[in-house]
């Protein structure tokens, strides 16, 4: 077994025990509907999915990395053997399901039958999770979600304190900045990735400044504020449902009109498309509309609620990273580009782009799977690094935390010499602050 394989199944070997075939069969039976049966039987081995997969492209077109091979040799085999598999087989499945697929869904677009391979890989992950197998990094976040409702294990008290801290700091730059907590009936309930209050609290400050200048009616919830959903990637569907319910229930309790998702890709996937099913909403609809930051920020600038200072538009060449779950799966590729056009003078698109863009290599739980997976992330991220290099851009805009961190790592690994920025970062710097919101000292000087 290679070093990579060893890393992929570390958690599995640590908790090695007897295979619980009954549980595997239960999950197989529960998913044995027309959809998966058709997908498993209709694949014509045409190979079109292979060329769409960045793992395949980054590893010298290894046929074992083609999406068709991956689902056939995991879920396909599990069905063929009716769940009677051994521990070694499950370890191999873990290596594929977490180490060789980010569930970016690019292959589904290229499959002539539209086979949703990511959904099948997610089912494999659920089966593995039922056996106590999942990467350690994800397992640790699962414990945190269970205990505190968020992936970083941050207490509500610390979260609210951080909001107060950031509001205080921001009010030194823009008058009247507040971060309202649990405001009933607000237009937007802003939910974030716990990485923000934990490691990048400035992100909260930037959002608060933008909302203040836009005159937005917004709030942050004291619970259900974590819009990420790593149990969804760990294969813990029950907890994934609970995580998204926490957010939905809070939105309903507060009577807010929309849930707003921060610049995070998989959070959008969880809250908008997978969440309703995970949370048990049979109609697949969210209890309140879910909006992504890319959409709202674009509307602010388009409608003139935020005005960009022409002198502060970015002069250096800029490219835009389409996060899979914001662009391809979320449909916001044009909004992202139109917004960037307001912010930068020299935009250079990657090839391929929009819904065809490659995953950064950090999605599907890869980033929080932690440093032990880093070597694999860097190897498969070569495709993204080459895409960026070919644009000649000096700045990469990434409206997704996973993309942001992965691009940061790729930047060092492949010496790209670029700067990774979020939309909030650029907008909060370049927006024109109206005179009535400028701090008092500035008034006096004027």
């Amino acid at each position: 077994m290679s070093t990579n394989e060893q890393a992929a199944v570390k958690a599995a070997t640590e908790t090695e025990n007897k295979v619980n075939t009954k549980k595997i069969r239960e999950i197989l039976d529960a998913n044995n509907g027309a959809r998966i049966r058709t997908w498993l039987s209709i694949c014509a081995r045409c190979g079109l999915c292979a060329e769409s997969c960045f793992f395949y492209l980054a590893h010298n077109k290894d046929p074992k990395l083609s999406p068709a091979y991956k689902f056939k040799n995991t879920l396909g085999e599990l069905y063929r053997r009716k769940g009677y598999v051994d521990w070694t087989f499950l370890k191999k499945c873990a290596d594929i399901a977490w180490g060789e697929c980010t569930t970016c869904k690019r292959c589904s677009m290229y499959c002539p039958f539209g086979i949703d391979i990511a959904t099948m890989i997610a089912t494999v992950r659920a089966i593995l999770f039922s056996q106590g197998i999942a990467p350690e990094g994800l397992m640790r976040t699962v414990v945190n979600y269970r205990e505190t409702g968020n992936q970083m294990g941050m207490s509500s008290e610390d979260f609210i304190e951080t909001c107060e801290w950031m509001a205080e700091e921001s009010s030194e730059e823009i008058r009247g900045v507040t971060i309202p907590i649990d405001k009933k009936g607000a237009k937007y309930m802003y939910t974030v990735n716990p990485r923000e209050p934990m490691f990048y609290p400035q992100d909260l400050a930037m959002a608060a400044k933008i909302f203040t200048v836009a005159g937005e009616d917004w709030t942050m919830p004291s619970t259900g504020w974590d819009c990420t959903n790593l149990p969804m990637f760990a294969g813990d569907k029950a907890l994934a449902g609970q995580v998204v319910r926490n957010m939905y229930d809070k939105a309903v309790e507060l009577g807010v009109k929309n849930i707003l998702i921060t610049e995070c890709g998989h959070a959008f996937r969880s809250a908008l498309f997978e969440g309703p099913y995970l949370a048990g909403y049979q109609d697949g609809k969210t209890p309140v509309p879910v909006i992504h930051s890319v959409q709202l920020l674009y509307e602010y600038v388009r409608d003139g609620r935020i005005k960009i200072d022409p002198a502060k538009r970015i002069k250096e060449p800029v490219t835009y990273q389409d996060p899979c779950n914001v662009s391809r799966n979320g449909g916001l590729w044009e909004e992202g580009r139109k917004l960037v056009a307001y912010l930068a003078e020299d935009f250079r698109d990657m090839t391929p782009n929009r819904e065809h863009n490659h995953c950064c290599g950090g999605g599907g739980g890869f980033i929080p799977m932690g440093p032990e997976y880093k070597a694999r992330r860097m190897a498969s991220g070569r495709i993204k690094a080459e895409q960026i290099k070919a644009t000649g851009a000096k700045i990469v805009i990434a409206p997704c935390h996973n993309c942001f961190d992965q691009l940061g790592d790729l930047n060092k690994e492949y010496k790209l010499g670029v700067k990774i920025l979020s939309l909030k970062e650029i907008i909060s710097e370049a927006m024109i602050v109206p005179d009535n919101l400028k701090p008092e000292e500035a008034d006096e000087e004027a």
Partner: protein, 168 residues
Amino acid sequence: MYKKILFCADLYAGSDYAFAAALDLAERSDAELIVFHVLESRHRYSGQVITEDGETWAGPEIYEKLKRKLKEYYFIRIEKENPEFVRIEVRAGVPWMEIVRFARKEKVDLIVMGSYTIHDPRQPMELEKPHLGENAQKVSLRAPCPVSIITSPKQRLAMEKAADAHTA
């Protein structure tokens, strides 16, 4: 007078001067001294932290081990046996953020720290040429209370808060 003093232990010998100054002030002011260390998260997307044994996941065992080490290291520098006025706290994250977060939460009156931030552990420290590292800079810019950066054994902290001195 100071009631609560936060000493940020960076675990480099350079901050021993800061500890001595913080201890001296705490003893004279009859204040509580909090010895605080942040286990740094190098990867800002996972709960892994850097420890003397390499990178590992932060958790109660890691915290307790470090608390014991900090106690061993600092308590021999205190004359009083079982000094009840000293409390040891450990957190994980980005040092300057956790220091400011903790200072706000505990409403400390003064932060005392060394100046050094080491970026490359393979490089030797240059104690003769102290400079402000990232954590010292960020803490001093964003802290909710005064911050004293101590770089020499000659530096002694005044007992009165700036505000007290002003009103006196």
